[in-house]
């Protein structure tokens, strides 16, 4: 697990986390990944669709993903899938995010208690 920074960027690693999680189940191409993100997050997370590709290329460069060109229904697209290194990275990112989410939740609960008392 990577050491924590003093002032972490909270959205750092979120796109990677979501993409790795989606691709863990099945290989997908860029358009399908964006649609899945939109559908499975209830449109809470909706990004400019084209910006998914630098993230995918970065993950592939790091060895977390592999790609291949496939022809489906007469259309040639580049499909991505997770490598074993990508699975490790997903585990690390998920752990970090869960810790962060728990910490934030604790602070919010404390704040609500303080309001209730006052």
């Amino acid at each position: 697990m990577t050491p924590r920074e003093a002032n972490p960027n909270f959205m750092n690693g979120v796109p990677e986390l979501l993409i790795l999680q989606l691709l863990q189940r099945e290989e997908m191409y860029g358009y399908a990944i964006v649609q899945a993100l939109h559908d499975r997050t209830g449109a809470v997370i909706a990004v400019g669709e084209g910006v998914v590709y630098p993230v995918l290329h970065g993950l592939e460069r790091d060895g977390a993903l592999k790609s291949r060109r496939k022809i489906v229904n007469g259309r040639s697209r580049i499909y991505y899938s997770v490598t074993p290194a990508g699975s490790h990275r997903l585990t690390d990112l998920a752990e970090t995010w869960n810790s962060l989410a728990t910490a934030i939740k604790n602070i919010l609960i404390e704040g609500q208690h303080a309001e209730a008392i006052s």
């Binding site: 358009y31 669709e49 084209g50 910006v51 590709y53 290329h57 460069r61």
Partner: protein, 226 residues
């Protein structure tokens, strides 16, 4: 009519992203645009409206460019280490080419000179051909290396300074340095520096030939902007 991602491609290349990464990014954006356009058409829009909506959903050029620039590992080597690509590499390539050329020239003497028994081709025509090969490598290598420098600079949309440094370095070294083979022992080779005038003239000729593709491209760029 410009292709949809022309601005994205040109700005990414100008910002130092390697051409192969830009090419792949643009190809995938084009595929994605086709999928989005098809989706919008299925929703009932005309082809023109569908394409506009698809382009909006894909993201503004600034956002697409910024996302790629954040991935610093995609920078080209000629941007990360221009001193290596335009300084060190040309010197090494030129040295290697001159070494090969000199070896060819020297090896021809025992092989093809009259009365040689090394090969059945001891005849002045074969000698001439063998030596021409060596001379072509010797005089052609600086020009070819210069063209390679120009091609790298064109592909990466580089500013003028580093390509000119590389071309000048190659022209200067190739133009002012030479080799003299002593007949004694047929294998003594010594480097020498030509006289100033001849050397500089030679360097200017090499520079002019080597810079041709790059100069042509820059002229085309200036004329198209005008």
């Amino acid at each position: 009519m410009q292709k949809p991602f022309h601005e994205v491609r040109e700005r990414l290349l100008g910002a130092g992203i390697a051409p192969r990464h830009v090419r792949r990014y643009v190809a995938e954006l084009t595929d994605h645009l086709a999928d989005l356009t098809a989706e919008e058409q299925r929703a009932g829009h005309s082809q023109e409206d569908a394409k506009c909506a698809a382009l909006l959903r894909l993201g503004k050029p600034n956002d697409l460019i910024r996302a790629m620039l954040e991935q610093r590992q995609f920078q080209a080597w000629c941007v990360r280490a221009p001193w290596a690509i335009f300084g060190l590499a040309p010197i090494l390539l030129l040295s290697a080419a001159q070494f090969i050329a000199v070896r060819i020239l020297l090896s021809g003497i025992p092989k093809f000179m009259r009365n040689s028994t090394a090969t059945p081709f001891a005849h002045h025509e074969w000698f001439f051909v063998w030596f021409c090969i060596g001379l072509i490598i010797y005089f052609g290598a600086p020009v070819l290396i210069g063209w390679a420098i120009g091609l790298i600079a064109i592909r990466q949309r580089l500013k003028i300074i580093w390509p000119v440094i590389g071309l000048a370095l190659v022209a200067f070294l190739a133009g002012t340095m030479g080799f003299r083979a002593e007949a004694l022992g047929m294998s003594i080779v010594s480097p020498r520096v030509y006289g100033y005038v001849y050397g500089l003239l030679h360097a200017v000729v090499i520079f002019s030939l080597a810079a041709l593709p790059y100069v042509y491209w820059r002229l085309q760029k200036v004329l198209s902007v005008d």
